[in-house]
Amino acid sequence: MEALRNKARELLQSRTVQVVIGYSRGSGGSSRAVFVQAPSQADALVFDDTCRQNLAVYLMKPEVRKLGKAALVATPSALRTILQLAAENQLSDHDLLVLVVDPGGDVVPLATFGAIEARVAALNTDLSADEKEELRKYKALGQEQRRGFWQEHFSRCLKCYACRAACPLCYCSRCTVECNQPQWIPVPAHDLGNLEWNVMRAMHLAGRCVNCGDCSRACPVGIPLYLLNQELISEVFANFEFRSGLAAKAENAMSTFKPNDPEDFIR
Protein backbone atom coordinates (compact mmCIF):
# COMPACT_ATOMS: atom_id res chain seq x y z
CA MET A 1 0.00 0.00 0.00
CA GLU A 2 2.89 2.36 0.87
CA ALA A 3 4.46 1.83 -2.56
CA LEU A 4 1.17 2.80 -4.21
CA ARG A 5 0.80 5.91 -2.09
CA ASN A 6 4.42 6.93 -2.77
CA LYS A 7 3.95 6.39 -6.48
CA ALA A 8 0.77 8.49 -6.50
CA ARG A 9 2.48 11.26 -4.55
CA GLU A 10 5.42 11.26 -6.95
CA LEU A 11 3.19 11.32 -10.05
CA LEU A 12 1.14 14.24 -8.72
CA GLN A 13 4.14 16.17 -7.41
CA SER A 14 5.95 15.91 -10.74
CA ARG A 15 2.69 16.77 -12.54
CA THR A 16 3.06 13.63 -14.66
CA VAL A 17 -0.65 13.15 -14.04
CA GLN A 18 -3.36 15.39 -12.62
CA VAL A 19 -5.40 12.67 -10.95
CA VAL A 20 -4.85 9.18 -9.60
CA ILE A 21 -8.00 7.09 -9.85
CA GLY A 22 -7.76 4.40 -7.21
CA TYR A 23 -9.50 2.86 -4.23
CA SER A 24 -10.02 4.19 -0.73
CA ARG A 25 -11.71 2.70 2.32
CA GLY A 26 -15.51 2.70 2.02
CA SER A 27 -18.48 1.94 4.24
CA GLY A 28 -18.36 -1.17 6.39
CA GLY A 29 -14.77 -2.13 5.48
CA SER A 30 -15.50 -2.09 1.74
CA SER A 31 -13.55 -0.05 -0.76
CA ARG A 32 -14.70 2.66 -3.11
CA ALA A 33 -13.32 4.77 -5.94
CA VAL A 34 -11.27 7.81 -5.01
CA PHE A 35 -9.87 10.58 -7.20
CA VAL A 36 -6.61 11.76 -5.69
CA GLN A 37 -5.72 15.17 -7.08
CA ALA A 38 -3.11 16.41 -4.60
CA PRO A 39 -0.03 14.67 -3.14
CA SER A 40 -1.41 15.29 0.35
CA GLN A 41 -4.46 13.10 -0.42
CA ALA A 42 -2.41 10.07 -1.50
CA ASP A 43 -2.67 8.46 1.94
CA ALA A 44 -6.34 7.71 1.21
CA LEU A 45 -5.29 5.05 -1.32
CA VAL A 46 -5.71 1.40 -0.41
CA PHE A 47 -5.40 -1.82 -2.37
CA ASP A 48 -6.66 -5.19 -1.14
CA ASP A 49 -9.15 -7.96 -1.97
CA THR A 50 -12.13 -5.63 -1.51
CA CYS A 51 -10.97 -3.51 -4.48
CA ARG A 52 -13.12 -5.04 -7.19
CA GLN A 53 -14.84 -2.19 -8.99
CA ASN A 54 -13.63 -1.83 -12.57
CA LEU A 55 -12.33 1.73 -12.34
CA ALA A 56 -11.99 2.00 -16.12
CA VAL A 57 -15.67 3.02 -16.05
CA TYR A 58 -14.52 6.48 -14.93
CA LEU A 59 -12.32 6.96 -17.99
CA MET A 60 -15.51 7.56 -19.98
CA LYS A 61 -17.14 9.93 -17.50
CA PRO A 62 -16.91 13.56 -18.78
CA GLU A 63 -16.46 15.02 -15.27
CA VAL A 64 -13.46 12.75 -14.66
CA ARG A 65 -11.94 13.29 -18.11
CA LYS A 66 -11.99 17.02 -17.41
CA LEU A 67 -9.61 16.56 -14.47
CA GLY A 68 -6.67 16.01 -16.83
CA LYS A 69 -4.29 13.13 -17.43
CA ALA A 70 -5.03 10.22 -15.14
CA ALA A 71 -3.17 7.36 -13.55
CA LEU A 72 -5.53 4.46 -12.96
CA VAL A 73 -5.12 1.65 -10.45
CA ALA A 74 -6.12 -1.35 -12.53
CA THR A 75 -7.36 -4.83 -11.73
CA PRO A 76 -6.91 -7.48 -14.46
CA SER A 77 -10.45 -6.70 -15.69
CA ALA A 78 -9.65 -3.00 -15.90
CA LEU A 79 -6.54 -3.76 -17.97
CA ARG A 80 -8.64 -5.67 -20.49
CA THR A 81 -11.27 -2.95 -20.47
CA ILE A 82 -8.66 -0.33 -21.33
CA LEU A 83 -7.47 -2.41 -24.30
CA GLN A 84 -11.05 -2.93 -25.45
CA LEU A 85 -11.77 0.81 -25.15
CA ALA A 86 -8.61 1.43 -27.18
CA ALA A 87 -9.74 -1.08 -29.83
CA GLU A 88 -13.02 0.85 -30.01
CA ASN A 89 -11.12 4.13 -30.50
CA GLN A 90 -12.20 5.54 -27.15
CA LEU A 91 -8.70 5.96 -25.70
CA SER A 92 -5.41 7.03 -27.28
CA ASP A 93 -2.04 5.60 -26.43
CA HIS A 94 -0.05 7.61 -23.83
CA ASP A 95 -3.28 9.35 -22.65
CA LEU A 96 -3.29 7.30 -19.52
CA LEU A 97 -0.88 5.80 -17.04
CA VAL A 98 -1.91 2.45 -15.63
CA LEU A 99 -0.75 1.29 -12.21
CA VAL A 100 -0.81 -2.40 -11.38
CA VAL A 101 -0.27 -3.45 -7.79
CA ASP A 102 1.61 -6.75 -7.62
CA PRO A 103 0.67 -9.33 -4.97
CA GLY A 104 3.76 -8.22 -3.01
CA GLY A 105 2.54 -4.61 -3.01
CA ASP A 106 5.00 -3.32 -5.60
CA VAL A 107 3.60 -0.91 -8.17
CA VAL A 108 4.18 -1.60 -11.86
CA PRO A 109 3.47 1.41 -14.06
CA LEU A 110 2.26 0.62 -17.59
CA ALA A 111 2.56 3.69 -19.81
CA THR A 112 1.59 2.27 -23.20
CA PHE A 113 -1.01 -0.02 -24.68
CA GLY A 114 1.89 -2.30 -25.67
CA ALA A 115 2.90 -2.66 -22.02
CA ILE A 116 -0.73 -3.42 -21.04
CA GLU A 117 -1.00 -6.01 -23.82
CA ALA A 118 2.15 -7.74 -22.54
CA ARG A 119 0.72 -7.79 -19.01
CA VAL A 120 -2.66 -9.13 -20.19
CA ALA A 121 -0.93 -11.83 -22.30
CA ALA A 122 0.32 -13.37 -19.05
CA LEU A 123 -3.22 -13.55 -17.59
CA ASN A 124 -5.66 -16.42 -17.90
CA THR A 125 -8.43 -14.74 -19.86
CA ASP A 126 -10.59 -17.82 -20.29
CA LEU A 127 -13.62 -18.29 -18.02
CA SER A 128 -12.68 -19.86 -14.69
CA ALA A 129 -13.48 -23.51 -13.92
CA ASP A 130 -16.36 -22.44 -11.63
CA GLU A 131 -17.75 -20.12 -14.28
CA LYS A 132 -17.58 -22.86 -16.90
CA GLU A 133 -19.36 -25.30 -14.60
CA GLU A 134 -22.19 -22.84 -13.84
CA LEU A 135 -22.51 -22.06 -17.55
CA ARG A 136 -22.58 -25.76 -18.40
CA LYS A 137 -25.44 -26.31 -15.93
CA TYR A 138 -27.31 -23.33 -17.32
CA LYS A 139 -26.88 -24.51 -20.92
CA ALA A 140 -28.10 -27.97 -19.96
CA LEU A 141 -31.51 -26.47 -19.19
CA GLY A 142 -34.09 -26.82 -21.94
CA GLN A 143 -35.17 -23.78 -23.93
CA GLU A 144 -38.41 -23.41 -21.96
CA GLN A 145 -36.61 -23.70 -18.64
CA ARG A 146 -34.11 -21.07 -19.69
CA ARG A 147 -36.94 -18.79 -20.74
CA GLY A 148 -38.57 -19.33 -17.34
CA PHE A 149 -35.27 -18.72 -15.57
CA TRP A 150 -34.85 -15.33 -17.21
CA GLN A 151 -38.52 -14.38 -16.97
CA GLU A 152 -38.34 -14.90 -13.20
CA HIS A 153 -35.15 -12.88 -12.87
CA PHE A 154 -36.21 -10.10 -15.25
CA SER A 155 -39.57 -9.77 -13.49
CA ARG A 156 -37.59 -8.18 -10.64
CA CYS A 157 -35.67 -5.75 -12.90
CA LEU A 158 -36.37 -2.15 -11.86
CA LYS A 159 -34.82 -0.58 -14.96
CA CYS A 160 -32.60 1.48 -12.65
CA TYR A 161 -29.84 0.99 -15.25
CA ALA A 162 -27.21 0.38 -12.56
CA CYS A 163 -25.87 -2.41 -14.83
CA ARG A 164 -25.39 0.08 -17.65
CA ALA A 165 -23.91 2.77 -15.41
CA ALA A 166 -21.42 0.37 -13.82
CA CYS A 167 -20.32 -1.05 -17.16
CA PRO A 168 -17.21 0.65 -18.60
CA LEU A 169 -18.16 -0.55 -22.08
CA CYS A 170 -21.68 0.95 -21.90
CA TYR A 171 -20.40 4.39 -22.77
CA CYS A 172 -22.90 5.52 -25.43
CA SER A 173 -23.92 9.11 -24.84
CA ARG A 174 -27.40 8.08 -25.87
CA CYS A 175 -28.41 4.49 -25.15
CA THR A 176 -30.78 2.61 -27.50
CA VAL A 177 -33.32 2.51 -24.70
CA GLU A 178 -33.43 6.31 -24.75
CA CYS A 179 -34.14 6.59 -28.47
CA ASN A 180 -37.86 7.09 -28.94
CA GLN A 181 -38.31 7.83 -32.63
CA PRO A 182 -38.80 4.98 -33.16
CA GLN A 183 -39.08 3.51 -29.69
CA TRP A 184 -36.89 0.40 -30.02
CA ILE A 185 -37.14 -0.77 -26.43
CA PRO A 186 -40.23 -0.16 -24.27
CA VAL A 187 -39.32 2.15 -21.37
CA PRO A 188 -41.67 0.71 -18.70
CA ALA A 189 -40.21 -1.94 -16.38
CA HIS A 190 -42.85 -4.48 -17.38
CA ASP A 191 -42.13 -8.00 -18.64
CA LEU A 192 -41.58 -7.07 -22.28
CA GLY A 193 -39.61 -3.92 -21.49
CA ASN A 194 -37.36 -5.77 -19.07
CA LEU A 195 -36.75 -8.71 -21.42
CA GLU A 196 -35.92 -6.47 -24.37
CA TRP A 197 -33.71 -4.19 -22.29
CA ASN A 198 -31.60 -6.95 -20.78
CA VAL A 199 -31.28 -8.93 -24.01
CA MET A 200 -30.42 -5.79 -25.99
CA ARG A 201 -27.72 -4.82 -23.49
CA ALA A 202 -26.23 -8.32 -23.51
CA MET A 203 -26.17 -8.39 -27.33
CA HIS A 204 -24.52 -4.97 -27.50
CA LEU A 205 -21.77 -6.34 -25.28
CA ALA A 206 -21.27 -9.56 -27.23
CA GLY A 207 -17.64 -9.77 -28.28
CA ARG A 208 -16.86 -6.69 -26.16
CA CYS A 209 -17.57 -7.65 -22.54
CA VAL A 210 -14.42 -8.54 -20.57
CA ASN A 211 -16.37 -10.37 -17.83
CA CYS A 212 -15.49 -7.95 -15.02
CA GLY A 213 -18.82 -8.75 -13.32
CA ASP A 214 -19.61 -5.16 -12.29
CA CYS A 215 -23.10 -5.28 -13.87
CA SER A 216 -24.10 -8.18 -11.63
CA ARG A 217 -22.52 -6.60 -8.56
CA ALA A 218 -24.30 -3.31 -9.30
CA CYS A 219 -27.75 -4.89 -9.73
CA PRO A 220 -29.70 -4.08 -6.56
CA VAL A 221 -32.08 -7.01 -7.01
CA GLY A 222 -29.41 -9.59 -7.80
CA ILE A 223 -30.09 -10.58 -11.42
CA PRO A 224 -27.23 -12.89 -12.56
CA LEU A 225 -26.40 -10.80 -15.62
CA TYR A 226 -22.92 -12.35 -15.75
CA LEU A 227 -24.49 -15.55 -17.07
CA LEU A 228 -25.76 -13.79 -20.18
CA ASN A 229 -22.35 -12.23 -20.75
CA GLN A 230 -20.44 -15.45 -20.15
CA GLU A 231 -22.73 -17.35 -22.50
CA LEU A 232 -22.01 -14.77 -25.21
CA ILE A 233 -18.29 -14.79 -24.44
CA SER A 234 -18.23 -18.55 -24.93
CA GLU A 235 -20.33 -18.31 -28.15
CA VAL A 236 -18.12 -15.58 -29.61
CA PHE A 237 -15.03 -17.65 -28.87
CA ALA A 238 -16.58 -20.82 -30.28
CA ASN A 239 -17.60 -19.06 -33.50
CA PHE A 240 -14.81 -16.57 -34.11
CA GLU A 241 -11.97 -17.63 -31.78
CA PHE A 242 -12.08 -14.09 -30.48
CA ARG A 243 -11.60 -12.71 -27.00
CA SER A 244 -12.15 -9.06 -26.16
CA GLY A 245 -9.66 -6.84 -24.39
CA LEU A 246 -6.46 -8.59 -25.42
CA ALA A 247 -5.18 -6.04 -27.93
CA ALA A 248 -5.44 -2.30 -28.47
CA LYS A 249 -6.04 -2.84 -32.16
CA ALA A 250 -8.69 -5.43 -32.86
CA GLU A 251 -11.70 -5.87 -35.07
CA ASN A 252 -15.09 -6.10 -33.43
CA ALA A 253 -16.32 -9.68 -33.49
CA MET A 254 -19.95 -8.79 -34.08
CA SER A 255 -19.51 -6.09 -36.72
CA THR A 256 -16.74 -7.54 -38.86
CA PHE A 257 -17.57 -9.77 -41.80
CA LYS A 258 -15.08 -12.33 -42.98
CA PRO A 259 -15.65 -14.54 -46.01
CA ASN A 260 -14.62 -17.62 -44.03
CA ASP A 261 -17.01 -16.95 -41.10
CA PRO A 262 -18.80 -20.26 -40.44
CA GLU A 263 -22.33 -18.74 -40.63
CA ASP A 264 -23.80 -22.08 -39.61
CA PHE A 265 -26.47 -20.23 -37.62
CA ILE A 266 -28.21 -19.44 -40.92
CA ARG A 267 -30.37 -22.41 -41.76
Binding site: A33, V34, E63, C160, Y161, A162, A166, P188, P220, V221
Partner: protein
Protein backbone atom coordinates in the same frame (compact mmCIF):
# COMPACT_ATOMS: atom_id res chain seq x y z
CA UNK B 1 -56.68 8.88 18.54
CA UNK B 2 -54.79 7.82 21.61
CA UNK B 3 -52.53 4.82 21.10
CA UNK B 4 -54.05 1.67 22.56
CA UNK B 5 -51.75 -1.08 23.86
CA UNK B 6 -52.42 -4.77 23.24
CA UNK B 7 -50.30 -7.86 22.75
CA UNK B 8 -50.19 -10.73 20.31
CA UNK B 9 -48.08 -13.88 20.16
CA UNK B 10 -46.64 -15.63 17.13
CA UNK B 11 -49.31 -18.28 17.05
CA UNK B 12 -52.10 -15.70 17.01
CA UNK B 13 -50.19 -13.70 14.42
CA UNK B 14 -50.19 -16.73 12.12
CA UNK B 15 -53.97 -16.98 12.61
CA UNK B 16 -54.25 -13.27 11.85
CA UNK B 17 -52.64 -13.92 8.45
CA UNK B 18 -55.24 -16.62 7.74
CA UNK B 19 -57.97 -14.20 8.84
CA UNK B 20 -56.68 -11.47 6.47
CA UNK B 21 -56.55 -14.03 3.66
CA UNK B 22 -60.17 -15.02 4.37
CA UNK B 23 -61.14 -11.36 4.20
CA UNK B 24 -59.68 -11.29 0.71
CA UNK B 25 -56.80 -9.00 1.57
CA UNK B 26 -53.51 -9.09 -0.28
CA UNK B 27 -50.62 -9.42 2.20
CA UNK B 28 -47.27 -7.95 1.26
CA UNK B 29 -44.28 -8.67 3.52
CA UNK B 30 -40.51 -9.16 3.50
CA UNK B 31 -39.63 -12.49 1.91
CA UNK B 32 -36.42 -14.30 1.03
CA UNK B 33 -36.07 -14.16 -2.78
CA UNK B 34 -32.88 -15.90 -3.88
CA UNK B 35 -30.04 -14.13 -2.10
CA UNK B 36 -32.07 -11.00 -1.37
CA UNK B 37 -34.90 -10.16 0.99
CA UNK B 38 -37.64 -8.07 -0.52
CA UNK B 39 -41.34 -7.24 -0.22
CA UNK B 40 -43.52 -9.77 -2.02
CA UNK B 41 -47.05 -11.15 -1.74
CA UNK B 42 -47.26 -13.84 0.97
CA UNK B 43 -50.07 -16.03 2.25
CA UNK B 44 -48.71 -17.07 5.64
CA UNK B 45 -46.47 -15.85 8.45
CA UNK B 46 -44.09 -18.75 7.79
CA UNK B 47 -43.12 -17.12 4.48
CA UNK B 48 -42.20 -13.83 6.13
CA UNK B 49 -38.59 -12.90 6.82
CA UNK B 50 -38.47 -10.96 10.11
CA UNK B 51 -34.83 -10.73 11.14
CA UNK B 52 -33.19 -8.54 8.49
CA UNK B 53 -32.26 -4.94 9.25
CA UNK B 54 -33.86 -3.91 5.97
CA UNK B 55 -35.19 -5.24 2.68
CA UNK B 56 -33.51 -4.26 -0.62
CA UNK B 57 -36.54 -2.35 -1.90
CA UNK B 58 -39.11 -0.35 0.01
CA UNK B 59 -42.79 -1.26 0.24
CA UNK B 60 -43.76 1.77 -1.86
CA UNK B 61 -44.76 -0.46 -4.81
CA UNK B 62 -47.98 -1.20 -2.89
CA UNK B 63 -49.10 2.40 -3.39
CA UNK B 64 -46.82 3.51 -6.23
CA UNK B 65 -46.23 0.56 -8.59
CA UNK B 66 -43.20 0.43 -10.88
CA UNK B 67 -45.56 0.66 -13.85
CA UNK B 68 -49.17 1.75 -13.57
CA UNK B 69 -51.82 2.33 -16.23
CA UNK B 70 -53.42 5.77 -15.94
CA UNK B 71 -55.91 5.36 -18.79
CA UNK B 72 -56.45 3.43 -21.99
CA UNK B 73 -57.84 4.73 -25.27
CA UNK B 74 -59.42 3.38 -28.41
CA UNK B 75 -59.81 5.25 -31.68
CA UNK B 76 -62.52 4.15 -34.10
CA UNK B 77 -64.06 6.01 -37.05
CA UNK B 78 -62.64 9.30 -35.88
CA UNK B 79 -64.03 8.83 -32.38
CA UNK B 80 -61.67 8.45 -29.43
CA UNK B 81 -62.91 6.57 -26.43
CA UNK B 82 -60.94 7.06 -23.21
CA UNK B 83 -61.24 4.75 -20.24
CA UNK B 84 -59.81 6.39 -17.11
CA UNK B 85 -58.49 4.43 -14.19
CA UNK B 86 -60.14 5.95 -11.13
CA UNK B 87 -58.80 3.68 -8.44
CA UNK B 88 -61.76 1.32 -8.19
CA UNK B 89 -60.66 -2.27 -7.93
CA UNK B 90 -57.31 -1.58 -6.27
CA UNK B 91 -56.58 -4.50 -3.98
CA UNK B 92 -57.21 -4.30 -0.22
CA UNK B 93 -53.70 -4.72 1.10
CA UNK B 94 -51.94 -5.32 4.39
CA UNK B 95 -48.28 -4.38 4.38
CA UNK B 96 -46.79 -6.43 7.18
CA UNK B 97 -43.38 -6.30 8.82
CA UNK B 98 -42.16 -3.04 7.37
CA UNK B 99 -39.84 -0.98 9.58
CA UNK B 100 -40.95 2.29 11.22
CA UNK B 101 -38.85 4.28 8.71
CA UNK B 102 -40.80 2.76 5.81
CA UNK B 103 -44.11 3.46 7.51
CA UNK B 104 -43.11 7.10 7.97
CA UNK B 105 -42.32 7.38 4.25
CA UNK B 106 -45.99 7.20 3.20
CA UNK B 107 -46.39 10.76 4.49
CA UNK B 108 -43.57 11.91 2.18
CA UNK B 109 -45.14 10.15 -0.79
CA UNK B 110 -48.61 11.55 0.00
CA UNK B 111 -47.16 15.06 0.27
CA UNK B 112 -45.96 14.78 -3.33
CA UNK B 113 -48.86 12.88 -4.88
CA UNK B 114 -51.54 14.99 -3.21
CA UNK B 115 -49.68 18.28 -3.31
CA UNK B 116 -51.97 20.52 -5.36
CA UNK B 117 -54.54 18.10 -6.71
CA UNK B 118 -55.05 14.69 -5.12
CA UNK B 119 -53.80 11.76 -7.16
CA UNK B 120 -56.77 9.41 -7.19
CA UNK B 121 -54.85 6.23 -8.01
CA UNK B 122 -52.23 6.76 -5.33
CA UNK B 123 -54.82 7.86 -2.78
CA UNK B 124 -57.13 4.93 -3.36
CA UNK B 125 -54.24 2.51 -3.04
CA UNK B 126 -53.16 4.17 0.21
CA UNK B 127 -56.73 4.21 1.54
CA UNK B 128 -57.00 0.49 0.85
CA UNK B 129 -53.72 -0.29 2.59
CA UNK B 130 -53.26 -1.15 6.26
CA UNK B 131 -49.74 -0.73 7.59
CA UNK B 132 -48.59 -3.19 10.25
CA UNK B 133 -45.09 -2.11 11.19
CA UNK B 134 -42.41 -4.00 13.09
CA UNK B 135 -39.96 -2.16 15.36
CA UNK B 136 -36.23 -2.61 14.82
CA UNK B 137 -34.32 -4.77 17.28
CA UNK B 138 -31.16 -4.16 15.22
CA UNK B 139 -29.75 -1.40 13.04
CA UNK B 140 -26.63 -1.08 10.91
CA UNK B 141 -24.20 1.68 10.05
CA UNK B 142 -26.42 2.91 7.19
CA UNK B 143 -29.46 3.56 9.43
CA UNK B 144 -30.11 7.17 10.51
CA UNK B 145 -33.85 7.36 11.27
CA UNK B 146 -33.29 9.32 14.50
CA UNK B 147 -31.54 12.10 12.56
CA UNK B 148 -34.61 12.70 10.38
CA UNK B 149 -37.31 12.61 13.05
CA UNK B 150 -37.99 8.89 13.26
CA UNK B 151 -36.84 6.08 15.48
CA UNK B 152 -36.53 2.30 15.66
CA UNK B 153 -39.85 2.15 17.52
CA UNK B 154 -41.60 5.22 16.07
CA UNK B 155 -45.32 4.76 15.45
CA UNK B 156 -45.85 7.44 12.76
CA UNK B 157 -47.29 5.97 9.58
CA UNK B 158 -48.14 2.56 11.08
CA UNK B 159 -51.75 1.62 11.75
CA UNK B 160 -50.47 -1.03 14.13
CA UNK B 161 -46.86 -1.21 15.33
CA UNK B 162 -45.53 -4.48 16.68
CA UNK B 163 -42.46 -4.66 18.89
CA UNK B 164 -40.94 -8.07 19.64
CA UNK B 165 -40.68 -8.43 23.42
CA UNK B 166 -39.09 -11.90 23.50
CA UNK B 167 -40.53 -15.42 23.73
CA UNK B 168 -42.52 -14.97 20.52
CA UNK B 169 -44.70 -12.20 21.89
CA UNK B 170 -45.22 -8.74 20.53
CA UNK B 171 -46.41 -5.51 22.05
CA UNK B 172 -49.06 -4.20 19.66
CA UNK B 173 -49.61 -0.46 19.54
CA UNK B 174 -52.91 0.37 17.86
CA UNK B 175 -52.12 3.72 16.33
CA UNK B 176 -54.98 4.61 13.99
CA UNK B 177 -58.66 4.05 13.36
CA UNK B 178 -57.72 1.66 10.54
CA UNK B 179 -55.61 -0.28 13.00
CA UNK B 180 -58.45 -0.36 15.53
CA UNK B 181 -60.83 -1.78 12.92
CA UNK B 182 -58.28 -4.40 12.00
CA UNK B 183 -58.01 -5.50 15.65
CA UNK B 184 -61.79 -5.45 16.16
CA UNK B 185 -62.29 -7.66 13.14
CA UNK B 186 -59.75 -10.17 14.40
CA UNK B 187 -61.80 -11.53 17.29
CA UNK B 188 -59.71 -12.44 20.32
CA UNK B 189 -56.34 -12.78 18.60
CA UNK B 190 -55.04 -9.68 20.35
CA UNK B 191 -54.72 -9.97 24.13
CA UNK B 192 -54.22 -7.31 26.78
CA UNK B 193 -50.79 -5.71 26.89
CA UNK B 194 -48.54 -7.54 29.36
CA UNK B 195 -46.18 -4.63 29.80
CA UNK B 196 -45.70 -1.16 28.38
CA UNK B 197 -41.96 -1.67 28.19
CA UNK B 198 -40.66 -1.22 24.66
CA UNK B 199 -37.40 0.76 24.72
CA UNK B 200 -35.24 -2.16 25.91
CA UNK B 201 -36.26 -4.16 22.84
CA UNK B 202 -35.26 -1.48 20.34
CA UNK B 203 -32.07 -0.93 18.39
CA UNK B 204 -29.92 2.01 19.33
CA UNK B 205 -29.58 4.51 16.50
CA UNK B 206 -27.51 7.55 17.48
CA UNK B 207 -28.38 10.94 16.06
CA UNK B 208 -25.81 11.77 13.40
CA UNK B 209 -26.78 15.37 12.63
CA UNK B 210 -29.28 18.04 13.51
CA UNK B 211 -32.00 17.99 10.86
CA UNK B 212 -32.86 21.67 11.34
CA UNK B 213 -29.39 22.55 10.15
CA UNK B 214 -29.57 20.59 6.89
CA UNK B 215 -31.90 22.93 4.95
CA UNK B 216 -29.97 26.14 5.67
CA UNK B 217 -26.63 24.35 5.14
CA UNK B 218 -27.79 23.11 1.73
CA UNK B 219 -29.04 26.55 0.73
CA UNK B 220 -25.68 28.07 1.63
CA UNK B 221 -23.85 25.43 -0.41
CA UNK B 222 -26.07 25.63 -3.50
CA UNK B 223 -23.59 27.53 -5.64
CA UNK B 224 -20.49 25.83 -4.29
CA UNK B 225 -19.84 23.81 -7.45
CA UNK B 226 -16.53 22.41 -6.16
CA UNK B 227 -18.28 20.91 -3.13
CA UNK B 228 -20.86 19.11 -5.26
CA UNK B 229 -18.30 18.03 -7.84
CA UNK B 230 -16.24 16.44 -5.09
CA UNK B 231 -19.23 14.73 -3.47
CA UNK B 232 -20.49 13.26 -6.73
CA UNK B 233 -17.34 12.39 -8.65
CA UNK B 234 -17.72 8.62 -8.18
CA UNK B 235 -21.52 8.66 -8.74
CA UNK B 236 -22.33 6.79 -11.96
CA UNK B 237 -25.76 8.32 -12.49
CA UNK B 238 -27.92 5.20 -12.24
CA UNK B 239 -31.33 5.10 -10.60
CA UNK B 240 -30.70 2.46 -7.94
CA UNK B 241 -30.87 4.97 -5.06
CA UNK B 242 -34.18 6.45 -6.22
CA UNK B 243 -35.78 3.11 -7.00
CA UNK B 244 -35.07 1.51 -3.65
CA UNK B 245 -36.04 4.72 -1.80
CA UNK B 246 -39.35 4.58 0.10
CA UNK B 247 -39.91 8.33 -0.39
CA UNK B 248 -38.79 8.96 -3.98
CA UNK B 249 -41.90 9.75 -6.04
CA UNK B 250 -40.65 10.91 -9.45
CA UNK B 251 -42.27 9.32 -12.46
CA UNK B 252 -42.21 9.40 -16.22
CA UNK B 253 -45.21 9.14 -18.54
CA UNK B 254 -45.06 6.65 -21.41
CA UNK B 255 -47.67 5.95 -24.07
CA UNK B 256 -47.87 2.47 -25.54
CA UNK B 257 -49.90 1.60 -28.62
CA UNK B 258 -51.13 3.48 -31.69
CA UNK B 259 -54.85 3.59 -32.65
CA UNK B 260 -55.55 1.98 -29.34
CA UNK B 261 -53.24 1.96 -26.39
CA UNK B 262 -52.58 3.10 -22.89
CA UNK B 263 -50.79 5.73 -20.90
CA UNK B 264 -48.43 4.44 -18.21
CA UNK B 265 -46.80 5.99 -15.19
CA UNK B 266 -43.28 4.61 -14.66
CA UNK B 267 -40.66 5.26 -11.99
CA UNK B 268 -38.04 7.84 -12.92
CA UNK B 269 -35.00 9.30 -11.20
CA UNK B 270 -33.41 12.75 -11.01
CA UNK B 271 -30.04 10.99 -11.19
CA UNK B 272 -30.53 10.22 -14.89
CA UNK B 273 -29.06 12.66 -17.40
CA UNK B 274 -32.24 12.60 -19.46
CA UNK B 275 -34.48 13.48 -16.51
CA UNK B 276 -34.40 17.22 -17.19
CA UNK B 277 -33.43 17.20 -20.87
CA UNK B 278 -35.69 19.61 -22.75
CA UNK B 279 -37.05 19.05 -26.26
CA UNK B 280 -34.90 21.98 -27.38
CA UNK B 281 -31.77 20.07 -26.41
CA UNK B 282 -31.11 22.31 -23.41
CA UNK B 283 -30.49 20.48 -20.15
CA UNK B 284 -30.64 22.58 -16.98
CA UNK B 285 -28.78 19.85 -15.07
CA UNK B 286 -26.18 18.56 -17.54
CA UNK B 287 -23.68 17.43 -14.88
CA UNK B 288 -23.91 14.55 -12.41
CA UNK B 289 -22.83 16.94 -9.65
CA UNK B 290 -25.95 19.05 -10.31
CA UNK B 291 -28.13 15.98 -10.30
CA UNK B 292 -26.65 14.74 -7.01
CA UNK B 293 -27.18 18.19 -5.52
CA UNK B 294 -30.80 18.08 -6.68
CA UNK B 295 -31.29 14.74 -4.96
CA UNK B 296 -30.21 16.17 -1.61
CA UNK B 297 -31.87 19.57 -2.12
CA UNK B 298 -35.23 18.05 -2.98
CA UNK B 299 -35.32 15.73 0.00
CA UNK B 300 -33.81 18.02 2.63
CA UNK B 301 -34.51 21.60 1.49
CA UNK B 302 -37.38 21.86 -1.01
CA UNK B 303 -39.76 19.31 0.52
CA UNK B 304 -39.54 20.63 4.10
CA UNK B 305 -40.00 24.17 2.75
CA UNK B 306 -42.96 23.42 0.46
CA UNK B 307 -44.58 20.40 2.05
CA UNK B 308 -43.41 20.54 5.65
CA UNK B 309 -42.08 17.00 5.45
CA UNK B 310 -38.62 15.60 4.68
CA UNK B 311 -38.18 13.43 1.60
CA UNK B 312 -35.99 11.02 3.58
CA UNK B 313 -36.72 8.68 6.47
CA UNK B 314 -33.17 7.47 7.14
CA UNK B 315 -33.69 3.83 6.09
CA UNK B 316 -30.24 3.76 4.48
CA UNK B 317 -31.38 1.72 1.47
CA UNK B 318 -29.82 4.05 -1.11
CA UNK B 319 -26.43 3.66 0.57
CA UNK B 320 -26.72 -0.12 0.73
CA UNK B 321 -27.87 -0.40 -2.91
CA UNK B 322 -25.36 2.04 -4.40
CA UNK B 323 -22.87 0.24 -6.66
CA UNK B 324 -20.20 2.83 -5.83
CA UNK B 325 -20.87 3.35 -2.11
CA UNK B 326 -22.40 6.84 -2.24
CA UNK B 327 -23.17 6.81 1.48
CA UNK B 328 -25.89 9.43 2.00
CA UNK B 329 -25.36 9.72 5.75
CA UNK B 330 -21.71 10.53 5.19
CA UNK B 331 -22.65 13.13 2.56
CA UNK B 332 -25.24 14.74 4.85
CA UNK B 333 -22.69 14.99 7.62
CA UNK B 334 -20.42 16.62 5.07
CA UNK B 335 -23.16 19.15 4.23
CA UNK B 336 -23.71 20.11 7.85
CA UNK B 337 -19.99 20.40 8.55
CA UNK B 338 -19.04 22.20 5.30
CA UNK B 339 -17.94 25.81 5.27
CA UNK B 340 -19.82 27.48 2.42
Amino acid sequence: MEIELRSIDREALAKLFAHWRDEGRRIVAPKQLGEKIDFAPVTGLDQVSLDQVQTVQSPKTAVFPRVEELFSYKSRDGQVEIRERDGTGVPRTVIFGLRPCDAAAFASLAAIFNWDSPDSLFSSRLANTVVVGLSCPRADEYCFCTSVGGGPGATAGSDILLTGTGNGTYLAEIVSEKGRQLVEGAGDLFGPALSKEKETFLARVDKAFDRDRIGPALAALFENTAFWAEQSLRCLGCGACAYVCPACACFDIQDEGDVSGKRLRCWDSCGFGLFTLHTSGHNPRPLQSQRWRQRLMHKFAYMPERQQVLGCVGCGRCSRACPVDMNILEHLRGVVEAKP
